[in-house]
Point group: C2
Chain length 496, copies 2
Amino acid sequence: MFESAELGHKIDKETFRREEPVLREALLDAQLELVEKKSFPVILVITGVSGAGKGETIHLLNEWMDPRHIQAIAMDKPSEEELERPYMWRFWRVLPPQGKTAIFLDSWYMPAILDRVYGRIKNADLDQAMERVCRFEKMLTNEGALILKFWLHLSKEEQKKRFKKLEKDKSTRWRVTETDWDYHERYDDILQVAEHALRQTSSVEAPWTVIEGTDPAYRSLSLGNILLLNLKNRLEAKELPAPAVALPPVMTAIDDLLILKTLDLSRSLEKTAYKEDLEKYQGKLNLLTRDPRFRNISVVIVFEGNDAAGKGGAIRRVTGALDPRHYRVIQISAPTEEERAQPYLWRFWRQLPRRGKIAIFDRSWYGRMLVERVEGFCSESDWMRSYSEINDFEEQLVRHHTVVAKFWLSISKDDQLKRFESRQQVEFKRFKITDEDWRNREKWDAYEQAACDMIDRTSSVIAPWTLVEANDKRFARIKVLKTLCNHIEEALESLK
Amino acid sequence: MFESAELGHKIDKETFRREEPVLREALLDAQLELVEKKSFPVILVITGVSGAGKGETIHLLNEWMDPRHIQAIAMDKPSEEELERPYMWRFWRVLPPQGKTAIFLDSWYMPAILDRVYGRIKNADLDQAMERVCRFEKMLTNEGALILKFWLHLSKEEQKKRFKKLEKDKSTRWRVTETDWDYHERYDDILQVAEHALRQTSSVEAPWTVIEGTDPAYRSLSLGNILLLNLKNRLEAKELPAPAVALPPVMTAIDDLLILKTLDLSRSLEKTAYKEDLEKYQGKLNLLTRDPRFRNISVVIVFEGNDAAGKGGAIRRVTGALDPRHYRVIQISAPTEEERAQPYLWRFWRQLPRRGKIAIFDRSWYGRMLVERVEGFCSESDWMRSYSEINDFEEQLVRHHTVVAKFWLSISKDDQLKRFESRQQVEFKRFKITDEDWRNREKWDAYEQAACDMIDRTSSVIAPWTLVEANDKRFARIKVLKTLCNHIEEALESLK
């Protein structure tokens, strides 16, 4: 894989002097068009062996292009806040918006490769990590990102020469560190692991290019030309073809029996029993969140359901049991400009709770499978691929010791009508009912179908949906509290 | 101060039942108008003695108003990332944008009050902290925020009664913690310190209201009515009167001698000497950033100057000496929608570096005193008050062990012309020169005057401006590197 990057590729000075300004100008033009159109973000991954010119390349791109629209991102050790969220959070934090370019030095690759080289993880772990990277990059390209990945290469011999040369000159001596020499020692191991990782993660959408790093002129022109070609290609492309979407497998019923139709909505709770249970489960929830082990987990609660199903009231019964320093309620409505310029899930990643904290989402990332699907706010392939993207997302949460509790509050069509009408009669409830609610009501069946598809495809063992019979508010609230207590209790006990 | 909040204020049930829906409706209407107009953010501070109903009040406001536009903010212990920035960073992170409401529980008051009560800080420290709070709130109100601060009160006797009552009922027992009883013990101390702090921070723009918390009906209606009154007042107000602005004192010269005119722009550096110095100071800078003590400081570098003065080139000579994991270059251009809905300095607060990191601002918060002033993008009072707001901002940085290095790169009018013309001739430099640059050039004198005012008023002992003679690029780059090394060296040595 790396052989042809050890051939001693070279560009003579004259050629470079002739070609560099032409390339620069073309790159600038392409960048300007990208900035103006704001049509997609560009993500460059630059990694490779030490001494092959990774830093210089980033430097050069900053000089060649308009630096106002490029951000170079080199990650240090994760901060405490980063460690308290799923691993990819630190990258989500700094994704470039549409029209901008981010250059990730070493990115999500090098840490995993080095972990393997130094024996901190096993082969299987590396494979899993790379598999997750593939899904992450696929999501990004499906969201429109242009991803180009470069491995800058040097042979072991060349690397040694380069280090020695840098060390000889006292002005560049500081550029060679002990770590660099240590990597040189482990050159063969690094290459072997890298080759495996690169093969596993090279895809049509996010391909790897290996470039020999010995000659700066060759390295720069090669990388610049590939970048230019891809930029122009994408800028000229009319529309991206809709991505092929694989849906998670689901039992399909040949009759018309939808899961939401099987709920017994007549379930209810007496006022006295309700008061007792409310006390009991609010007290229990409070105790659970004060458990010392609670500091090791996070909790994400999702509320979805029919309009007027009582999400707000249920949420207040949950928060009533909590210390206000420990939770945040996140109301999901229209995205902001910054959010619209990012992948769909970005606005939810930015709200993830730290360890020991609870985030309550009043509506959530499931909007894509519900309102956006039914109202046609996104394309069919967008909401279809969101099934697997959301499963990935929740899997990352759960793997990071986050309890994911998802509630669907279900009321009957008749009951909804009663609630709508009563809301219109009480002045201070009028804000809760809009023309949109009435319009949505007309599409009851379509919403029901979408909700059932969503439940079928995203209710997993690790993050199951709880369907809540909500015609009776008291019954619904207690079911929510009780389920939540169970989920948290299980998570605490599984911590050992 | 608290006497009239111990009188046993009460509202009878019937009155409450009559008035509550009216208030709710009016509050909702006002909130809706606020959301639609997006004219200002609302900041409520709710604090007071334990048991006086702070939590319940926040709960109630969430029930009364549309929760999509209210965020309750209760702070836990600061995270590592928060500790690595100036104290107010955690509050800047969560400021509400225009049209939204944030309720800060205890906010920036209670931690300082308790620190004093428990003897962790002295009286003078508390006074200083409250003085800083005053300036912070003043900045917010000048930026248009509506700030209302409530102290919910109980007499010592009432507090005891309330705790006992909660403890008797097993469903509410968990609401009384050991900390609450500890605060009860120190009731008199807390009140004494709080009274002092409240007096010091009650202003026309951000007044305190003390409300007796014994009777929930009285408490809720009182607070709700004050909120309503203030909301309506502000919504009806046409324009806010321009704030009175006090400028930092400056020596005024009666002749026409501007500081920028005193620079000897002919200063230059030979190519050989330049190469030697570049090596020397890049090496030195690199060593300084690898010093173990460097992990205890942050560095903020600001580049301002005439158009085409060579900021980009100077920045690249700095970054060329740095580990890419340790710095970030922040290009300041037009603010995003989220940034426009926040106070002016918000977009810079969000970019502050952690400990051991360097943030390089290519243009900065000084834009307000330069381009925004000259082009009339903001009102006169806006740029005038920015002098003291920016001094406050930088003072917070320096107090937090941040090196603030500010460079003004100065070239002559003739040299600028030469550079503009050469930029237009080289294809790949053309992006660096726009019509706007030519237009700005016509206002050379106005920009020069603005820059001189800025330097006079914001060059402080703790964060001085370095004026860089930049007709000769080599000279300029070395001066920047050398000065930066000195600043960092001083900071490291002062750490002891």
